[in-house]
Symmetry: C5
């Protein structure tokens, strides 16, 4: 990591990245709960919310829509990714060059590394090329650091997430995106391993509002600098509301209950008492 | 996809692509029903029909004949392809560089991606190189998005075709060519996944006129922007007739029966009553 | 194929290519019947015969001798090839770049494609690079189109040879060299698949004069544009005689018996009556 | 090796390299005995000690901190490395190009070669590229020469270490870092094989002060030119003390007991009598 | 091969190459009979002997010492090579680029090809790159042509050595280094296959003086143009003596007994009567 390199996609040193590459990674099934979310424009609109520091998409989605939102949205172009149609040791195709990401107006690039996969060595070398090309263009680098594969028994064990975070530091990521290891203490272990590389929590599948915000708060308490979130925002009826609450928690330091209450506005919500 | 990029091979936003790479992909057996169709010139003549927005061929066929037809035919150069002489997980050789396609006068390039194959990652990376080189030359990109391989049980299942269409969007194709998933509703699912990437239906093996046109109509009703067709046109006795009918259905909005009747001209055809 | 591209190694649209890469492909055993034939100079001398439109050799043989024969011999540099010392799916090393072939004074380049091999995809991509580099230098391209490998049951079946010839057309060869499929009718099937790509027959192992010439005549009757021959010429006692006869059959349209009689001169040969 | 090339990371022809890539190679577990050692800054501080001739780290750690220590610390950028999350024949990803190492201010580059691994050929070719790029930039090259893999029964046997040292010479390393082969005599065998390539001993896991210094002295007696050490320094309570002692032994020629006594200062230490 | 290209490392068309890459290929065990031979300088001194037309070493040994001997020794830089620590089909890492060999002052380059190995195709393609780069720099090319691997039953059978020599010619080597096939007649078969490519005999493991010289004489009688020798020279007590004798046999045409007697000087040696 390069000090201050991440500033194009952080605010006050913190990040809330809206991630929207589910159409590639998981396929249409991820849009089933709310089919309208298959439309990227909906998510570009959401990404204009003040809370969002960057929107992560694949090349084709950026080509189609980014021009219309360039003033309001910071683009984190995800360079690799693959479908789940095939089987085998985790791997990820490099779908976009850094040069082209830059042409598309990217403010940062993202790259998945499956540490522990039999393809780790190959992926790390692809990461090197991307990372150094990004340095040439002053683009910050976010690593999706997701250990998985034949050698991994538990891919959210505290020691695995701590190792994942350290890989971000050692290999030169400015931000490492990791799964939540289950507790603030475990997240603390991970962030202490990452040195000055910022660690952000990966949002995971959709849960209820309060539980989700409490997890985010736990991650922050453990030293995480924010969140990358997809389904937990875009699959909701009222995604702006949860973004309001996330903004309060991440940037405003609010408690989850309080943040939710404010985000819900006047409506009294018994569940939050 | 880049807005408007496909205009060199569409008309009013719609496409009728005549595909003629069967000699490579399937071999001489595909010409057996009508041996004269092995002669590419016959197909270049056909491609001059007003209905046809582009002719898709491999490099060698373009080298041999395109110069004679450049005024009347838009060339969609298919960059990869392979014989069916060998066995193994689906893969496709990149037989032509984008640079050379451009030299040959191509108006667009085509590329097969076998999502779900063990070679998906490698093919996606080859697609990246081709797609970005095409962008440099302002050539639209058509993806033959055909999930198949070890991991696929049913390669025309609605959810598979929907995923195929989404891959076109995510990876940066301007047009995604997919198999017909069996119903307008299933095609609707696919086209809604592709965002602004145009989806066109792949013609498949030869069927009777009306059934074929009704399938095409079903695809259009499901949001498809046209058709890529080979044997269903070039193997017919009267290929111009079916092209007339396709033109009426795709660009004129006609009903299949009506379109056929008009294409057949004065001749009364009881089967269409 | 590019119209007229082959003219550097054809005469009146026909070709008689003397092939001499047996030392690499089969090893010294191919010279056993006549050890003096191991000396390349002997074959360069032969290649000066009027009947021969090109001599096909590997890089090292060209380096050693071509300078001395450049005025009288057209050089077809064979770019790939391999020994038969190893076992495994058919493959062929690219032993010479097109750039260097050009420096050596090549008039054309040759390339083997083993359609049907598990290495077909890789070989086709190597062919692409060679073919496009040859186009840049206006060098005609001859494909040794030899389906073989795990997937092939009968590598001289008519449908296999027809597919082989088609691969030449589709992938951009100016001339496709195929095995003789057994009859003029089968050769006709192959040549009709190749469109304007010229098909020439591969000479095979040594047979007697008349049988050999009759096979060549059969190939020509089936639309072949000539012959690539090695052992059937250079292993004979009187190779010039068979070249005289081949010239009469291929370029003069003679019948095999007549051609042989003339080539044998005054000597009456009962076997030809 | 190039005579005098190593001078940027040696003093009087000797080296004490502080190695700190455990976070990548072994993961957080290596910091467990003293969690504060996970912080790279602590190690950069240590590396400012007079005894240390270079600090070896991966790219990301250098990016984050080297600018602040460039005046006091010589940087040995380790170009390859991998996590131990995966299983399989030993291999190592090339995580940093020589070009970028140079941009980061590296004084030398380091590269692991697992001789004996099924990946040896590939790693040696990667080493070639790195070594020649380093020559272009006048950067000395340190090889971590660690035979291991399927073919190796005992990776610290004297003949294995001797072979490891020889690989350093033959392949062009200026310094070869090898495991201690167990005795000064065995080290003598290794250093005599390396010709003018300097051999340094690899520090291994943490042992007690005197035993450690005696091993170092044994290595020096066997012709080694110094030490690369990680945990045996940074995991101690008083790492400066052991660095003082190492300096006395390596550069001052002191006996281990004497060196330790001086390093411990006034405090009388019965164990050293 | 290019006529006269080899002159930088031959005298009167003959070669005596001192080979010294045993430290890489076999490891320290090859120096056991005479440990002082592990020191490259000793061999560089020897290579100054008038009989020696070139010294073959790996990159690192050349870097360390060649500058001091450049006036007296012709350098044949061996480009590939590998340790015997690993197991598997024969292969060899390319440890030095031709560009760098040239920078180091090489007069020629050497390259091993294991014909018959499953890696033959890959090695032949690496040879192509090296050979063509050497042509660009007017550096002669010596092929270590050593058939071995899964497909080979007897790697010194006359037909195998003859094939090995032919590979040298076909692929563009100026000199082919082969094992001695057992008799002058078998060597004659090999040299007749190599055309103008010079064949030299590989020295093999250490034998007694007279037997060794008689084998060399047998190779010359079979048309070989000299010898590449390592252990049979450098492991002797009096290596200059055997070089004197080899000079007499190779360049002076002496009989082995006579040559040995002269080389041994005044001393009467009963064994030679």
């Amino acid at each position: 990591m390069i000090p201050h390199a991440d500033e194009a996609i952080t605010r006050d040193g913190k990040a809330l990245i809206l991630a929207y590459d589910h159409g590639l990674e998981h396929g249409p099934v991820d849009f089933d709960p709310n089919p309208a979310t298959a439309d990227p424009e909906r998510v570009f609109e959401l990404a204009g919310h003040d809370a969002v520091t960057a929107l992560a998409v694949q090349k084709g989605v950026a080509e189609a829509h980014y021009d219309d939102y360039a003033d309001d949205v910071s683009l984190l172009l995800k360079l690799n990714g693959t479908s789940n149609l095939w089987m085998g040791e985790p791997d990820s195709a490099v779908n976009c060059s850094v040069e082209y990401a830059d042409e598309l107006g990217a403010d940062a690039v993202g790259f998945t590394l499956y540490g522990g996969s039999n393809h780790e060595v190959e992926m790390a070398e692809e990461f090197r090329d991307a990372q150094e090309a990004a340095r040439d263009r002053d683009l910050p680098v976010v690593m999706w650091s997701y250990p998985r594969g034949q050698g991994l028994k538990d891919d959210t064990a505290p020691e695995t997430i701590a190792y994942a975070a350290r890989l971000g530091l050692e290999l030169g990521a400015d931000i490492a995106k990791v799964k939540y290891p289950g507790s603030p203490e475990a997240m603390e272990q991970a962030t202490s391993m990452a040195g000055p590389t910022k660690v952000i929590m990966s949002g995971g599948s959709k849960t209820d509002d309060l539980a989700f915000l409490q997890t985010v708060k736990g991650a922050l308490d453990g030293g995480a600098k924010g969140l990358a979130v997809g389904r937990n925002v875009f699959q909701r009826e009222n995604p702006e509301q949860i973004l309001d609450a996330l903004e309060a928690v991440i940037f405003g330091g609010s408690e989850p209950r309080e943040a939710l209450r404010e985000a819900n506005g006047e409506v009294h919500d018994a569940a939050l008492d």
